[in-house]
């Protein structure tokens, strides 16, 4: 199971690094938004991954998992709860980001972030 465990961790970290790399180097603001989304996905994976235990089931105590055995049968529910929040936050921020990006590119006539630095020093 270690292979699975570390593969997910590697994927997640890889997504975060690639996402940040994209944020820091891409010029089109919409693509920067996409890069943020990728990094977010990586972070979410990492969060769920931190609550993962091998050979267990979803934390739902229906007939398959009696309540008494829950402690040794289910994965950690907390990180999952956190990720739910994080996903919603991610999409909310993305929506706002896109709207601002669209309006910015319309008003400034370009989607190139290098042109959006009238304020400096």
């Amino acid at each position: 199971m270690n292979v699975f465990y570390w593969t997910v961790a590697g994927t997640a970290s890889g997504l975060i690094i690639v996402g940040l790399w994209g944020v820091l180097t891409r010029k089109n603001i919409l693509r920067i938004g996409l890069a943020f989304t990728i990094a977010d996905t990586g972070v979410n994976l990492l969060l769920v991954w931190s609550g993962y235990l091998p050979g267990r089931t979803t934390p739902i105590l229906n007939g398959d998992v009696p309540a008494a055995e829950a402690v040794s049968a289910v994965v950690d529910p907390l990180p999952q709860a956190l990720v739910l929040t994080s996903i919603v936050i991610g999409v909310a921020v993305a929506a706002l980001f896109v709207v601002v990006a669209v309006l910015a590119s319309r008003r400034l006539g370009t989607a190139d972030i290098r042109r959006m630095k009238e304020l400096k020093w």
């Binding site: 292979v3 997910v8 994927t11 890069a35 769920v48 896109v98």
Partner: protein, 83 residues
């Protein structure tokens, strides 16, 4: 699920996602980039499922993959050809 099958699936998906993420950064066409990002999210929701996070998988599929993609598509449409 069979642990080794899960591992194999994870390695496959993980590799694909990483490759796809780099493609998103460098592909010329923004539309493809948006679609590919949606696919990454969808793959992530499969990984969530493999990690016994059903709730998260559903949410990621509906919100992360579909909704976010729709929003970005709208944005691209509104932004027009500005690069």
């Amino acid at each position: 699920m069979n642990p080794s099958l899960a591992s194999a699936l994870a390695v496959f998906l993980g590799g694909m996602m990483l490759a796809a993420s780099v493609v998103v950064l460098f592909v010329r066409d923004l539309l493809s980039a948006i679609i590919i990002t949606g696919m990454i999210s969808l793959s992530a929701s499969v990984l969530f499922l493999l990690m016994d996070a059903t709730d998260v998988a559903i949410t990621e599929a509906s919100i992360g993959a579909v909704l976010a993609t729709l929003i970005f598509l709208w944005g691209k449409g509104k932004m027009g050809g500005r690069e």
